[in-house]
């Protein structure tokens, strides 16, 4: 009997076995009194697309079939309770597989009907901005939050390191320097250099400079310069008629 079958057509050895059983028109339980084992081996060994990786399950099944056949030729050892008869196990597996294969066919017919149920595409809807609702906003919760802060503070302060160290008094404050600059400007323009004493320290320079920037930002003074590296002149008030400032 010539069999032209490609293994790829089958979803595994059980599928192929069921196919052969169906072709031979026999019952599953008669598989070992038939030629199915020989046909199975013939298909697997003769498969043109034989690829051990893909066919390993088929080969394993062929080995099992041969084992079951050869057992049948030997006198049967007395059966123990735990020992499962590989023939019965295989028949049970084939039966179970056949059940699911048939169910899969029924499901396919359900699928075919369902594929004819049409829905519409979702509409495109411009959505308003998402609304956010906030839970747990109660006056009690707010009050408790304040208590938490209050109770935390003294504890944290106790953790302060009380080692002795020298702290130099800040001689210059930004607010102080702002007053100095403003009082100087109240009598007219001034140059940047004359704000500083003869030998200014780093603290004085930095603080005065920040104070000046602050005044510029508040619009209480403005600066002009004739050319690059020229003297910087400070003027009181906001700069007038200067386009995009």
């Amino acid at each position: 009997m010539a069999i032209h079958i490609r293994l790829k057509q089958f979803d595994g050895p059980l599928d192929l076995l069921l196919h052969l059983i169906g072709k031979a028109k026999i019952d599953i339980k008669d598989i070992f009194v038939s030629e199915i084992t020989e046909q199975f081996i013939a298909v697997v060994s003769g498969a043109p697309d034989f690829d051990l990786d893909a066919a390993s399950e088929f080969v394993a099944m062929a080995a099992l079939l041969v084992e079951i056949k050869s057992r049948a030729l030997l006198p049967k050892p007395p059966k123990t309770d735990e020992e499962e008869d590989p023939e019965q196990v295989l028949i049970a597996r084939l039966t179970a597989y056949k059940q699911f294969k048939e169910s899969a066919q029924t499901m396919s017919s359900f699928e075919q009907t369902a594929l004819q149920l049409y829905a519409k595409l979702p509409e495109e809807i411009p959505l308003p901005p998402p609304t956010l609702e906030i839970d747990g906003l109660t006056l009690d919760a707010l009050w408790l939050a304040l208590r938490r802060i209050a109770e935390r503070r003294p504890k944290e302060e106790r953790e302060v390191d009380y080692r002795l160290r020298n702290i130099r008094r800040d001689c210059y404050t930004v607010e102080g320097c702002m007053e100095v600059i403003q009082s100087r400007l109240s009598i007219g323009e001034a140059t940047f250099d004359e704000l500083f004493c003869d030998v200014p320290g780093r603290e004085e320079v930095v603080t005065l400079f920040i104070a000046l920037l602050e005044l510029l930002k508040l619009g209480k003074a403005y600066v002009t310069q004739g050319a690059a590296f020229d003297r910087i002149i400070l003027h009181p008030g906001r700069r007038q008629g200067f386009g995009l400032e």
């Binding site: 599928d15 399950e57 056949k98 699911f100 149920l117 979702p122």
Partner: protein, 183 residues
């Protein structure tokens, strides 16, 4: 909202959505309980059925969807090219059958029944949203348990897995020519 208005609000929502909508989301949008929502759904379903309408309200598990009635499919297909869903391959269908009837179940169980590796078909079914992971089996290796989804029901046009026909009874290992043992 007014309970008398609910069925038609549901109709409007499902119409706009196009896709299936979960009962909890629907209930939230309507400001109703899930129970009240399901009552409204049933009222709407009855309304559709009493008049052989062109569209039907389908329930797939916990999801609802408006769909055309199958008898009008030829007219729809004649005029429009509706988006056709893909049918499943034989391998995927077999894997799905084992999961549907044994759920929750593991890949190992499916492989045991089918006699082949099922990694690919399980992945593809997960990807299509027809099955989902539902936990792990308390067994060696704690394998993942799979079950079918509401999308599975939608794909097969049934409201509940129990609508699948029971597994066919086959004359298995016990030969039928032997009379059953009776006391």
């Amino acid at each position: 909202m007014d309970l008398n208005e609910a069925p038609h609000a549901i109709e409007a929502i499902l119409f706009v959505s196009g896709e299936s909508v979960g009962v909890p989301e629907l209930a939230q949008a309507l400001g109703l309980s899930e129970m009240e929502t399901m009552h409204a759904v049933e009222a709407l379903q009855k309304e559709y059925e009493s008049q052989t309408r062109g569209i039907a309200l389908k329930r797939y598990g916990d999801h609802l969807k408006l769909e055309t009635r199958v008898e009008y499919a030829p007219y729809v297909e004649r005029l429009l090219q509706p988006v056709q869903r893909q049918s499943l391959s034989q391998a995927a269908m077999e894997t799905l059958a084992v999961i549907a009837y044994h759920q929750p179940t593991t890949k190992g169980d499916v492989e045991q029944v089918r006699g082949v590796k099922c990694d690919y078909s399980v992945q593809s079914l997960l990807h299509k949203g027809l099955i989902q992971e539902v936990g792990r089996k308390e067994a060696l290796g704690r394998p993942i348990l799979y079950a079918t989804t509401d999308k599975f029901l939608e794909h097969f046009g049934i409201s509940d897995v129990r609508e699948l026909p029971p597994l066919p009874v086959l004359h298995s290992a016990a030969p039928d020519d032997e009379p059953p043992l009776t006391p």
